[in-house]
C-alpha cells in the first residue's frame, strides 16, 4: 500500500537557516522535496539522502550523483552549524547532546557524532564533533488514512504497536494518528521524550496535532507516560520507540488503568519482534500490529494484523 495523494506540509521548512553560511550559499536552489537527510562530515562532501539514494552538493549549487568535485565540509562549518543549532548555548541542550542529537525548530533533528564524554559509565556530552546528520521531519497529512479506521472505530481505540525499521516513517505515521484522533474528539496525550513527534519549541508544535493533544516533552517516556496518565486523564497515550523494561512496566500500568496506548518499535515485522526475549511479553498488551517499510516509499504499510492473527 503506497501512500499517495497526501498533502506534504513544509517538509524542510527553515532547514537552510541551520546550515553553516559557507554551505548555505550553494543550497538555495537545490530541491529538497523528498529529501530525508542532509549529512555533513568534516572533510567529506555535503550529502543529501533521498529515498532513491545519496546525492552530492556541487559548487554550482546543484545536486549530482557522483561525489567527486562535491562541496566539502570543513571543521569550522561543523562548529558553526552546531552553534546555530544550539543557539550558541550547547550547555542548554546538553541533555539532548548527551543522547546524540539536537532538535531544532520545524521538528527536524540533528544527529551528532564526535568524541563522547563519559562519566560514571554514562555519556554526558559529545565534544570534538565530526559529523552532523540533519533528519528532515515532514508532516504528511493523510499518512494515517489507511490505518486510522482500524485503530479507532467510533470512540473506541485499539492498543496499537507500529513496527518499522529506522527511516520508514513511523514517527510521521504516529504524528498523523495523533492529529486524526485529536480531531475525532479523543483525548490524546503525547509522551515525546526526544521531541520528535511534536517537536515543541517555546510551547508550540510546528505540526498540526489536532485540537487537544497534550504534549510532555523531554521526560523519559516511561516516566512521562505515568505523569500524563495521572495529570491529564488521557484516553490514549502516544509515544515513540518503546523497548526498555521501564517502558513495558509503564505500558502495563496504562493499560490496566483503562487508557489506551499507541506506540512504535524498531523491527521488520511482528514475527521478528516476537522473537526478541525482552519484547515478547510486551506484545500481548496490543490489539493491533501495523508494519511499515520503505518498499514503495517511506510510510508503506505492509501489514495490519489483529492480535488473534498474530497468535499471541
Amino acid at each position: 500500500m503506497y501512500i499517495a495523494n497526501n498533502t506534504l506540509v513544509h517538509p524542510y521548512a527553515g532547514i537552510l537557516e541551520y546550515m553553516p553560511s559557507a554551505l548555505r550559499r550553494y543550497m538555495y536552489n537545490i530541491n529538497l522535496d523528498g529529501a530525508r537527510e542532509i549529512h555533513l562530515q568534516a572533510g567529506k562532501p555535503v550529502t543529501v539522502y533521498y529515498n532513491g539514494g545519496a546525492r552530492y552538493l556541487t559548487p554550482e549549487g546543484r545536486l549530482a550523483d557522483k561525489y567527486t568535485g562535491g562541496v566539502r565540509v570543513t571543521g569550522s562549518d561543523i562548529r558553526e552549524a552546531l552553534e546555530i543549532a544550539a543557539r550558541s548555548s550547547l550547555y542548554s541542550v546538553s541533555d539532548e547532546v548527551s543522547e546524540g542529537y539536537i532538535t531544532i525548530s520545524g521538528g527536524h533533528r540533528i544527529g551528532i557524532c564526535g568524541q563522547g564524554v563519559v562519566k560514571d559509565g554514562k555519556n554526558t556530552f559529545i565534544k570534538e564533533v565530526s559529523a552532523l546528520n540533519y533528519r528532515l521531519a515532514s508532516e504528511i497529512k493523510g499518512t494515517a488514512d489507511k490505518v486510522i479506521e482500524r485503530i479507532c472505530s467510533g470512540t473506541e481505540v485499539k492498543n496499537t504497536l507500529i513496527i518499522s525499521p529506522p527511516g520508514a516513517g513511523k514517527t510521521t505515521m504516529l504524528r498523523d494518528i495523533v492529529r486524526c484522533l485529536s480531531y475525532r474528539g479523543i483525548r490524546v496525550s503525547v509522551a515525546d521524550e526526544r521531541q520528535e513527534i511534536a517537536a515543541m519549541r517555546d510551547g508550540h508544535s510546528p505540526f498540526d496535532l489536532g485540537v487537544g493533544a497534550d504534549v510532555l516533552s523531554g521526560v523519559p517516556k516511561a516516566q512521562a507516560m505515568i505523569m500524563l496518565l495521572r495529570a491529564m486523564s488521557p484516553e490514549v497515550i502516544v509515544t515513540d520507540e518503546i523497548g526498555g523494561e521501564q517502558d513495558i512496566e509503564a505500558v502495563t500500568k496504562i493499560i490496566n488503568c483503562g487508557a489506551k496506548i499507541i506506540t512504535t518499535i524498531h523491527g521488520f515485522n511482528v514475527e521478528q519482534v516476537s522473537r526478541r526475549s525482552d519484547l515478547c511479553n510486551l506484545l500481548e498488551f496490543f490489539d493491533l500490529f501495523i508494519t511499515l517499510s520503505s518498499k514503495n516509499g517511506v510510510g508503506t504499510v505492509t501489514e495490519i494484523l489483529k492480535r488473534e492473527e498474530v497468535g499471541i
Binding site: 558553526e80 552553534e83 550558541s88 548555548s89 550547547l90 550547555y91 542548554s92 546538553s94 554526558t124 565534544k127
Partner: protein
C-alpha cells in the same frame, strides 16, 4: 587655558584608571551572574547576556554581544563588543575577556563554569593590579596635571 588643559588631562588619566578598576569589578560580578544563569537555569547564552546586562549594566557590552550574535556568531560578536564597549580596560584585560570568545556557549555547563572561573581569576588579578596602580598614580596624575599646567604657565610668563 594651558593650565586648564593640563589639569584636565591629569584628571582624565586619573579617571581612566578609576574607571578601569570599576569596570573590572563589574565584569567579575557579571561573570558570576552568567555562571548562575548557566549553572542553575541553563538559560540560553543570548538571554543570559541580556538578563545580566539588565541586572548589572555593563556599559552595553553584553547587550551589544547579544544583539550581534545571530549575525556574526558568538566569537566575533563577543570580541567586537569587547573592543567597542570595554575601552577603559588595558589590552591585557581585554585579551583576558576575549579568551571566552571561542569557548562561550560551546561546551557543557561544567566547561562553561570552568572557563568563566579561569577568566574571572585573571580579571581579579588584574583588578588588584589596577587598584594598586590607581592608589599609586591616580592622585599623582590628578595633582601632577595641575602642577604641570601651572609650571608651563609660569615658564611662559
Amino acid at each position: 587655558m594651558i593650565g586648564a588643559v593640563c589639569a584636565y588631562m591629569g584628571i582624565m588619566r586619573s579617571n581612566e584608571m578609576k574607571n578601569r578598576c570599576v569596570m573590572l569589578e563589574r565584569l567579575i560580578s557579571a561573570f558570576e551572574m552568567l555562571e548562575t544563569e548557566i549553572r542553575f537555569n541553563r538559560t540560553e547564552i543570548k538571554k543570559a547576556f541580556l538578563n545580566t546586562e539588565k541586572a548589572l549594566p555593563m556599559y552595553g557590552f553584553l547587550k551589544t554581544a547579544a544583539e550581534n550574535m545571530d549575525k556574526l556568531g558568538i566569537k566575533k560578536a563577543w570580541e567586537n563588543a569587547a573592543d567597542k564597549c570595554l575601552r577603559s580596560l588595558s589590552d591585557v584585560d581585554r585579551n583576558a575577556v576575549k579568551i571566552l570568545s571561542s569557548k562561550l556557549g560551546m561546551t557543557d555547563a561544567e566547561g562553561q563554569i570552568k572557563q568563566l572561573e579561569y577568566v574571572k581569576n585573571i580579571l581579579k588579578h588584574q583588578a588588584g593590579e589596577a587598584e594598586k596602580e590607581y592608589k599609586r598614580l591616580g592622585r599623582l596624575y590628578r595633582s601632577g596635571g595641575v602642577l604641570a599646567g601651572a609650571f608651563i604657565v609660569l615658564v611662559l610668563l
